[in-house]
């Protein structure tokens, strides 16, 4: 490649820290610049820091030279480092270029998306168990201050359920058995939650609604399945992965589009949550089978919970109990949908 452009290029020269423009000319040599005023050489072979707008050449020591006309491609190649020059070629709008770049970008994005989803269940096992447990414990602490109150169930009843749940733990083969916490909550109603790495939270309302031990144990089996499969962590990994991809594409411009994309990701996250619930339901059935608790007790538990939901939401029972479609903003499949696939699995 030619490294010397012998011709002089006219323009304005600015001394360091001065806005005063002085007429001068430059000669480009070995990617460096010499400045001349008439025939007198003012500076010899100065390093180029950047070339902007194809006219402004920023040189070492804060010197600026602005050419009268835009620099031609040959001069630009001499002044701009090779990698930048390659980028500039990429920047030029050519339909062929645009189509190729778009295609590569779309393929990469789709590739990343499937890569994250396929490996998320494996990736979670790289996360130390103790860290996951720490997340669960600190979440429980926060919930205790906001949503949860001290349980009003008799101590005897709590011990009874805890003792009976040991046989499920025995078959679940967890690294470490999580604690079961009983709490009263006016906001959560009859509910059970599995925090990452434990504990499992059972509300007083759930115990009072289900009454029967096997029904309560079947719900505990479902929560154990979440912990065993590290579902919370899996969801965090996938959402973080997808958010990173979305940020790479849309987050660069700080536009409102970024917000729209993140709403989309959240909706996707809710669908994922419904899939994981279904997963936990199926695993719970297997656990119940191993512990010789009737699998129908889980169906009965879901029936009671769905019935309670129908009454609480004042939706007509015939509609509510048969609504198999889950709303796309729900975290769980609808009660009717759950009952449908649970019955299918038992049969």
């Amino acid at each position: 490649m030619k490294s010397i452009s012998n011709k002089k290029i006219d323009g304005d020269f600015f001394n360091p820290g001065s806005s005063k423009a002085e007429t001068a000319s430059i000669v480009i040599e070995k990617s460096k610049v010499s400045i001349f005023k008439g025939e007198e050489r003012l500076y010899h072979l100065l390093k180029v820091q950047s070339v902007q707008n194809e006219k402004s050449i920023f040189l070492e020591n804060g010197i600026l030279f602005v050419t009268k006309e835009k620099l031609n491609e040959i001069d630009l190649k001499l002044l701009i480092p090779k990698n930048e020059s390659l980028l500039q070629n990429l920047d030029k709008f050519k339909l062929k270029n645009v189509l190729i770049i778009l295609l590569i970008t779309i393929m990469l994005v789709i590739g990343y998306r499937y890569l994250f989803i396929s490996f998320s269940s494996t990736l979670v096992y790289l996360f130390p168990y103790n860290w996951e447990k720490k997340i669960g414990e600190s979440t429980y602490k926060t919930l205790s201050k906001t949503l949860l109150e001290k349980s009003e169930l008799p101590e005897k009843r709590i011990t009874e359920i805890k003792d009976k749940s040991q046989k499920i733990f025995k078959h679940s083969k967890l690294y470490k058995n999580p604690e079961i916490k009983f709490n009263k909550s006016n906001i959560l109603g009859p509910n059970a939650l599995a925090l990452p790495g434990g504990p499992i939270i059972i509300t007083d309302d759930l115990v009072e609604l289900l009454k029967d031990d096997d029904l309560i144990l079947s719900v505990i089996a479902h929560e154990i399945a979440h912990i065993k499969e590290r579902h919370s962590l899996q969801q965090i990994v996938e959402i973080a992965g997808l958010s990173s991809i979305a940020w790479m594409i849309f987050g660069l411009d700080e536009s409102i589009l970024e917000e729209i994309v993140f709403i989309g990701i959240n909706i996707w996250g809710l669908k994922k949550s419904r899939d994981l619930e279904k997963d936990a339901d199926i695993i719970a059935l297997k656990l119940l089978e191993k512990t010789s608790i009737s699998k129908t007790s889980f169906i009965l538990a879901i029936e009671k919970l769905t019935d309670h939901y129908c009454i609480a939401t004042k939706i007509e029972k015939s509609v509510c109990m048969n609504e198999v479609k889950s709303g796309w903003l729900s975290t769980h499949p609808s009660g009717a949908e759950r009952l449908k696939y649970l019955r299918k699995n038992i049969n």
Binding site: N15, K55, S56, T105, K141, I249, L252, D253, S255
Partner: protein, 352 residues
């Protein structure tokens, strides 16, 4: 007085935008620091005053290093706070008192990386005033139910203008609190606030009186009023939001009209500024951009950005008085981008 010229073209920027996305995706996000430099350089390089364009000097490495340090600090703080109970509160206090320092670093970095005719801009704000006007001001303004907002806008805006410089020459803006209150009335912001709070006070007064006489029907009384409250919130809150937006545009116009640049050599005025930003046009551009970009799956984003920036430049006026050759810049210090990138990660935006 002439509008600032912006020569950027959507098709030209489209190539840069697309290459930025590709390289950011390929490098799993690392290139985004360089992408930012390329984007800002395109916009500055195409912004012209009297045929001279602006230049942007930050490098991708500077921004990347800043982001990396900020990322590591956030991770460490996150881990420590998960192990030490109550540390989150300590972090909040630390960040609160560090924020003026971060804001100042951010503003200084942003200003020093931009030059015009070989003279770089600069920021001279100090810790105490930044804490007062940028951190505490918005909090006090919020607790004053919005009535002190014009007062704090005055402090915020003039502090922002008076502490920027072009080399050694300082910008200054002389505005009065009265002008900001007049603008808040003209924009409808203060009247909307007054109506909103009057309705709330009147309703509470009315409910209190009814409860006094009909204590047994307390539920019915609240039910009767809940519909009224819904209407109040659904109508009045968007009105307050829009009038506040208009007020900010009025205040920006007023501030720029009051801004001058005095040359440090002879203390004479070198430039006057103006702003003719129209709230309706500005809002129209924002709304239509927000509709068009998602519909085209982001492909029209370069066009939307160029359109927005073009309008902003066109509406910002400048009149150069005297000689452009006599400005000086004595600052030689190179800045790191830690402050700038940290505040960006935390979503701290300082602008007018």
């Amino acid at each position: 007085m002439k509008g600032i010229e912006f020569k950027g073209k959507a098709l030209e920027y489209f190539g840069i935008w697309l290459a930025n996305i590709l390289l950011t995706v390929v490098t799993i996000g690392i290139f985004s620091a360089w992408a930012k430099v390329r984007r800002l350089r395109y916009f500055y390089n195409n912004t012209n005053i009297l045929e001279n364009s602006f230049a942007y000097h930050a490098t991708g490495w500077q921004i990347f290093k800043g982001r990396l340090i900020a990322f590591v600090v956030i991770i460490i703080l996150g881990i420590v706070s998960s192990y030490i109970p109550g540390f989150s509160f300590v972090i909040f206090i630390i960040i609160f008192f560090l924020s003026p320092f971060i804001i100042n670093s951010s503003l200084r970095f942003n200003a020093r990386m931009v030059s015009y005719r070989n003279i770089r801009f600069n920021w001279h704000g100090n810790y105490k005033q930044t804490l007062l006007y940028f951190v505490l001001g918005p909090v006090i303004s919020f607790f004053s139910l919005g009535f002190l907002q014009p007062l704090f806008t005055k402090f915020y805006y003039t502090y922002y203008a008076n502490n920027h410089s072009y080399g050694t020459s300082r910008f200054s803006a002389d505005t009065t609190i009265k002008q900001y209150y007049i603008d808040s009335f003209k924009s409808g912001f203060l009247p909307a606030l007054i109506i909103f709070y009057s309705i709330i006070v009147y309703t509470i007064w009315d409910i209190a009186n009814l409860i006094e006489w009909n204590f047994d029907y307390i539920d019915t009384i609240f039910n009767d009023y809940s519909n009224g409250f819904e209407i109040l919130f659904f109508i009045m809150i968007p009105i307050i939001f829009i009038t506040n937006f208009i007020y900010r545009i009025f205040a920006r116009n007023m501030l720029l009209r009051a801004t001058i640049l005095s040359n440090s050599n002879n203390n004479e005025i070198s430039a006057n500024f103006g702003s003719t930003l129209n709230p309706a046009t500005y809002l129209w551009i924002i709304i239509t951009n927000a509709i068009i970009v998602p519909i085209t799956l982001g492909l029209m984003s370069p066009w939307a950005q160029i359109r927005f920036y073009k309008y902003l430049s066109y509406s910002t006026k400048i009149e150069i008085i005297g000689d452009l050759n006599i400005f000086l810049d004595t600052e030689k210090k190179n800045l790191s981008s830690l402050g700038e990138e940290y505040s960006e990660m935390e979503g701290i935006e300082v602008n007018i």
